[in-house]
Amino acid sequence: MPAWLFIFFGALAIVAAFGVIVQRNPVHCLLSLVLTLLVIAVLFIAEGAVVVGFLQAIIYAGAIMVIFLFVVWLLNIPGTPAPGGQLAPKFIGAIAASALGSMLFAFFSEPEAAVRAGAMAADYGSISSLARVLFADYLIAFEVTSVLLLAAMVGAVALARPPKNLDAKRDAEEPRRDEAAAG
């Protein structure tokens, strides 16, 4: 990846990331986040993680974020939450975050540590190589992950279902509605 391209994408990523946290409307935040994710996917591909990059686009941008979108709509939040709340924590938080940023900056702007460049396989990042590692060395983790997803699905359903009394109320109203329809 040529430097100018990297600069472009890096700048885009950072701008979009800021867009996530500064915009008022959650939908806009979400779109900025999607943009960030896509840019990150591009960077993945540039770093040789082709499959993972596309997966990022498919799973993250294509699926997870859409779920977020649903929830945002479902709750249709007022664009600007009521101002208020303590400001001191926010202030300290801002300072702390910037401190973290500067610390990381200081840390990573060290001259590149002598990372031993391992022999780069010819098919590095290809789906076959990924699969080889995933299903050989990380098989158990993989299986466990599947269980995790199942558990998450069940949990999500259990949590998001409206409480019993709501159903009961609805059932109570049901016949009346039928009568209305009949009459």
Binding site: P89, I92, G93, A96, A97, A99, L100, M103, A106, F107, E110
Partner: protein, 640 residues
Amino acid sequence: MTVEFPALALILAFPALGVLFNLFLGPRYGRRSVNLVGPGVMFAAFAVAAWSFLELISMAPGSALAVTLWRWIAAGNFHADIGLKLDALSALMVMVVTGVGALIHLYSVGYMEHDEDIARYFTYLNLFAFSMLVLVLADNLLLMFVGWEGVGLCSYLLIGFWYTDRQFAYNGRKAFVVNRVGDAGFMLGIFTIVAALAHEGVWTLEFSQLQMHAQLISPVMATAACLLLLVGATGKSAQIPLYVWLPDAMVGPTPVSALIHAATMVTAGVYMIARLHFLYQLAPVAMEVVAAVGAVTALYAAAIAIVQPDIKRVLAYSTISQLGYMFLGVGVGAFGAGIFHLMTHAFFKGLLFLCSGAVIHALAGEQDMNKMGALRKKLPITFATMLTATFAITAVPGFSGYFSKDLILESTFTSGHAWLWLLGVIAAGFTAFYMFRLIFMTFYGNSRVEADKLPHLHESPPVMTIALIILAVLAALGGWIGLPQGFLWGDAIGRFLAPVVGEFVPAFHASAAMLSMAATGAGALGFALAWLCYIRAPELAGWIAAHARASYQLLLHKFYVDELYNLLVTRPLFFVSTTVLGRAVDTFAIDGMVNGAGLAVESTGRLARRVESGNVQHYALLYLLGALGIAAYYLYRVLA
């Protein structure tokens, strides 16, 4: 030699199944099913037991059937298995438990026909049978102890079966507590044995192993162990000093009294001593103590029995006294005789209780002999069978009791315990007296039955009388398996048991005839006195009571032992626990500590909770600050 015989497990399995059924399904399926299952499992168990028994006697003497179900406890070198062993001794016990047990279960069907809680009743009863079988079949001391505790529990549950009556519940608790005292001794005994053997590098509680390594135990340790175990035995078998619970246990249903407090459980102590005879033979002192306890108890209880008005109490004290005989027998080393008497006693005492039960049943719960009399005609079968039992217990020649009791007294004398023998003989006289007093007061004389009870005065239903008759036959003839030496087939049972409990070696020889003469004479005397006091001149008894008031009261109040214990043990205990521990220690020390700790935590929490705003972002912030701190440290390390 020992043969693997898995069927032994079945003997336990059947009662266990009965328990489960009665516990979970009984209440739903109702009385009929329970009546079917409760006794049914016992008969099944009896069948298996009989089969095993035949297997056993078909084998060479001294051999045994055994099965190890699973490894129960494994701790270092020590291990205990759930192992069952059926040798001559336990075979006899199993036959008695299952046989008499089955009959009494059957009898209960009739006796409890008016009781609502039949399912619970049979649950307890089956559970008891199970525990008792565990006790006698156990091949190691630990498993035996499990059964030991189990029967104690069942006894407690059944004494308090009609728990709605506070007094009954109290008696049940009393029995349990007293038994606990004994059990404590028993446990200590077990520990002593383990300690003594472990000191020699042998880790086991299995009887065969114990017997093999018994001589490793030093006499002192052996004596200690034996005495401690004896405490347990006196608790379970109601000997001095721990006999007090048995009379009160009579408030339970009569079949229970028959099964638990006459035939089986209370004999556990005797069985245990016989089982550990090799240990006791190492400790002559302990043997002496056993014998003395037995003899004294025999006489003492018999004396109390003389004046008791309550029919079941009489029988209770008679049981204590008969147990005393057994202890005497095993005490003087005639283990076979002790077990023999145990068996015959199971027959006739079980029968006596069942008969008294029949009488009480007929009189709708009346137990006071002063309100009975002249029932001979009304309850013919009961009368006949009870008379048989009485002959058996009073050692009328030819009846089972005669042979066993005679054997014990003879062994006592020939083993050189003349005094104990004398006590035994006198006790025999007392026995005759109080037993015939019971008979006379109940079945003879003029009826003192309350008017309202008369109309529904009836003989028991066949389901009960069957049991009575069978037991009567046993009580009459059961003794013939142990005739005197060189008489027909001789002492068959003694020979049968010998390989397990060893032969009895008399110190010197005396004419068996003379000795039995003495005992029988004493019995006859007792009978004569009873006849005099209660048939010939009924007012005589009252006259004696009036003139020998002191001793009469003493006997009537059982030598005030209960009151004594109350004064010496219970009161101080209550004082210490309520006043000292309850007020001082608990209130101040412990509560103080607890509350203090709570207070400290609470106050600190009240301060610390300021941090807990409940706002996620604040938590996150704190978290980040901490992370920053750590990161800063490493960054410093890296940069500097």
